[in-house]
């Protein structure tokens, strides 16, 4: 992955190299570590300025852990996270307490469930504005002005700042969460399934809001979702995660039209389509994803892969560059003819 940093460093906002997050499994009276859950295992990617990288995968694949580890909400086990600060890169992994706290202004997160991510005992003003006070960035008076400004930017009314979260609907609560993420004027936001807990008719409101503020404030997103259709709408490039690893990463049309990893193919094939046609034959993926505490020896997908050969069971495939910005981790990538979806108009 070395070349990836050097070649693309020019417009990168965030560069993640060989990031790992292992959770120890403790057993017995002395809580001895008997193994590790490899939630994020040797993951490398970059996100350009004002770019959206979509992250898809099934539950348990490590999407959320990756998002949180990138922000150092979880302490990485190893690896490096570089973040652009003007014309140089700061190593986020090396920042200590106070430095880290100050640097976090640049990166924020929006969670999935707007019902558990707001403090019910605080008004909108406090929920959104307290970070300014805590960071000593504004006086009490300025905080009110800043909160009003941001709350209007997310499509709520200025009077709403005195109200408590319970009086808002799910969609409005998610707008408050977006406002809270925006108020520090970050450059990067991890959006972890931001529309998944909302009703179908409300989802589009939040997705469009995220697109609009991205343009307005020049934000970059790591957009996490299990729903590939949503990721297609939001992302510039898509990374596919499986059992703690990124198995394929490419511009979105590449991923959808010509996937190169058998897991990506299976995932695309499993997505139900709204286009009415005769029942298609789906490449049904058998079985469940592997236990992240007990991964197979070779390729992590080999147990479920219908193309698997001897080498797949023995050796872990590296993430290789096979086309412009198209990386895939599969021994057979060059030899397989995989099916994507028709995205043409």
């Amino acid at each position: 992955m070395e070349d990836m940093n050097i070649n693309n460093q020019d417009n990168s906002l965030i560069i993640v190299n060989n990031l790992r997050k292992y959770f120890p499994i403790e057993r017995g009276f002395f809580r001895r570590t008997s193994g590790y859950v490899k939630a994020v295992d040797d993951v490398s990617f970059r996100i350009g300025q004002q770019e959206t990288l979509g992250l898809v995968g099934e539950s348990g694949s490590g999407k959320t852990t990756l998002g949180r580890t990138v922000l150092r909400l979880y302490e990485p086990t190893s690896g490096e996270i570089l973040f652009r600060d003007g014309d140089r890169f700061v190593s986020v992994t090396k920042l200590q307490d106070e430095e880290l706290r100050r640097f976090r202004r640049n990166m924020q997160i929006i969670f999935q469930d707007p019902f558990s991510s707001l403090n019910e005992r605080m008004t909108v003003l406090e929920n959104v504005g307290d970070v300014l006070l805590i960071n000593g960035l504004a006086s009490k008076h300025e905080v009110i002005e800043r909160v009003i400004e941001v709350i209007e930017q997310v499509g709520l009314r200025r009077d709403d700042i005195r109200r408590y979260p319970y009086s808002f609907s799910g969609g409005q609560r998610q707008r408050i969460c977006v406002a809270r993420a925006l108020i520090l004027r970050p450059k990067f936001i991890v959006a972890d399934e931001p529309a998944s807990a909302l009703d179908v008719s409300i989802q589009a409101q939040i997705l469009n809001l995220l697109k609009d503020i991205q343009e307005q404030f020049g934000l970059a997103y790591l957009f996490i979702s299990h729903d590939i259709s949503v990721v297609r709408y939001m992302a510039d490039r898509i990374a596919v995660m499986y059992a703690g690893k990124i198995v394929e990463i490419a511009p979105k049309d590449e991923i959808l039209l010509s996937p190169k990893h058998p897991y990506t193919e299976a995932l695309l094939s499993a997505v139900p389509r709204t286009a009415i046609e005769r029942r298609r034959s789906r490449a049904i993926l058998r079985g469940d994803p592997p236990d992240p505490a007990n991964l197979p020896k070779g390729c992590i997908f080999s147990l479920r892969c219908k193309y698997a050969q001897e080498i797949c069971k023995e050796e872990q495939p590296p993430l290789k560059l096979i086309d412009t910005e198209h990386y895939v981790s599969c021994h057979l990538a060059e030899n397989l003819e995989l099916n994507g979806v028709k995205i043409a108009s």
Binding site: S59, S169, D227, V230, R232, P272, I276, R279, R282, I343
Partner: protein, 341 residues
């Protein structure tokens, strides 16, 4: 109307289930009509609070009373006896009585959204499936166990002779949902009600479960009521679709009709608001506002405050009827009503 009743499994007419609460009356299901034939799938689609789950629970008579009450309508379950077609009205049965208990689990099976909460954590999967079989059928425990193992194998659970003795928590979400389906089908029901059966599982597991249901449907001639908020899932599995909004069916028709020619402004707005995997990428058009609270259903057409085709003075005053505009395609909207002005 279709007069061939030999294929008819269930017919719901003007069904009303209200909840009488301290803060007011919630008309969760407010005059719902539909019917379903052998081997067919009816998809019921709608957002949270539209009454789709209450409809399902009413058919199973699982609504707690009080506060819930069936205040009107009928639920006719058809059967054939001595060459004659007859029916029982489930809405009239005692919800705790013998008759409904012989229907629930036997004639009608049900699969719920979260299989972790619908299995008892205290008993093994096998105990629960065997119990369900023994309640309805006069066979030995050994035979029931054999049938359970066979069913678990059929729904694709590996090593069923061992899995049958595991507890629900030992299985993954997808496996639990399969076991749930095995239990629902254990007494060969004629109707399966699946209430968001794939909402809590991943897409790859969802695809497996949809295929499984279709396989059983073809084999057993099972009628399925499939409830979901996911338009794409409905597009894959349904024959007919009912779109619900605030307790009422606002549009009903064959799947092709609904998808290719949606008539109700709510249906077409829903289609424009969901991201798609295929086709041209266009900016989504969200539906404005929120689903109103069930206590304060708007006067007139319940969708009028969010509708972009609203005709003021008409939509906020008149309650539209569900009218057939041909090919069995029905819509509840003032745009299609004949009004005397």
């Amino acid at each position: 109307m279709n007069l061939d009743l030999t294929q008819r499994v269930l017919e719901v007419n003007n069904l009303k289930t209200y909840f009488y609460l301290n803060i007011g009356t919630v008309k969760a299901v407010d005059g719902v009509d539909f019917s379903i034939d052998r081997g067919k799938t009816l998809g019921i689609i709608g957002e949270s609070g539209c009454g789709k789950s209450v409809t399902a629970h009413t058919i199973m008579r699982l609504i707690q009373s009080p506060p819930g009450k069936i205040v009107g309508g009928s639920i006719k379950l058809y059967y054939e006896r001595d060459g004659n077609i007859d029916f029982v009205d489930i809405a009239k049965l005692d919800p705790k009585g013998k008759e409904i208990r012989s229907i629930r689990g036997k004639e009608i099976g049900m699969v719920f959204q979260e299989p972790m909460t619908s299995f008892s954590p205290m008993y093994t999967i096998g105990d629960q499936i065997i119990e369900a079989i023994l309640i309805h059928e006069n066979i030995s425990k050994k035979e029931a166990r054999e049938r359970s193992i066979y069913l678990l194998e059929r729904v694709g659970i590996p090593k069923p002779e061992r899995t049958i003795d595991t507890y629900p928590f030992q299985l993954s979400g997808g496996m639990r949902q399969r076991a749930m389906i095995a239990m629902a089908l254990s007494c060969h029901p004629r109707l399966l009600i699946a209430d968001e059966p794939t909402t809590a599982v991943d897409v790859t597991i969802q695809a497996q479960i949809l295929d499984l249901l279709q396989e059983f449907q073809e084999e057993m001639g099972l009628a399925i009521i499939f409830i979901t908020h996911n338009l794409a899932v409905i597009a894959e599995i349904a024959d007919n679709i009912a779109v619900m909004y605030l307790g009422k069916i606002v549009e009903y028709g064959a799947k092709e009709e609904i998808f290719n020619n949606p008539l109700h402004p709510y249906t077409s707005a829903l289609f424009r608001s969901i991201p798609k995997l295929e086709g041209k990428l266009e900016r989504l058009i969200p539906i404005s506002g929120n689903v109103p609270s069930s206590y304060e259903v708007p006067e007139g057409c319940p969708f009028h405050p969010r509708c972009e085709n609203i005709i003021s003075g008409i939509c906020n005053v008149n309650s539209p009827e569900l009218i057939d505009i041909g090919n069995g395609h029905k819509v509840r909207c003032m745009l299609y009503q004949k009004v005397e002005v």
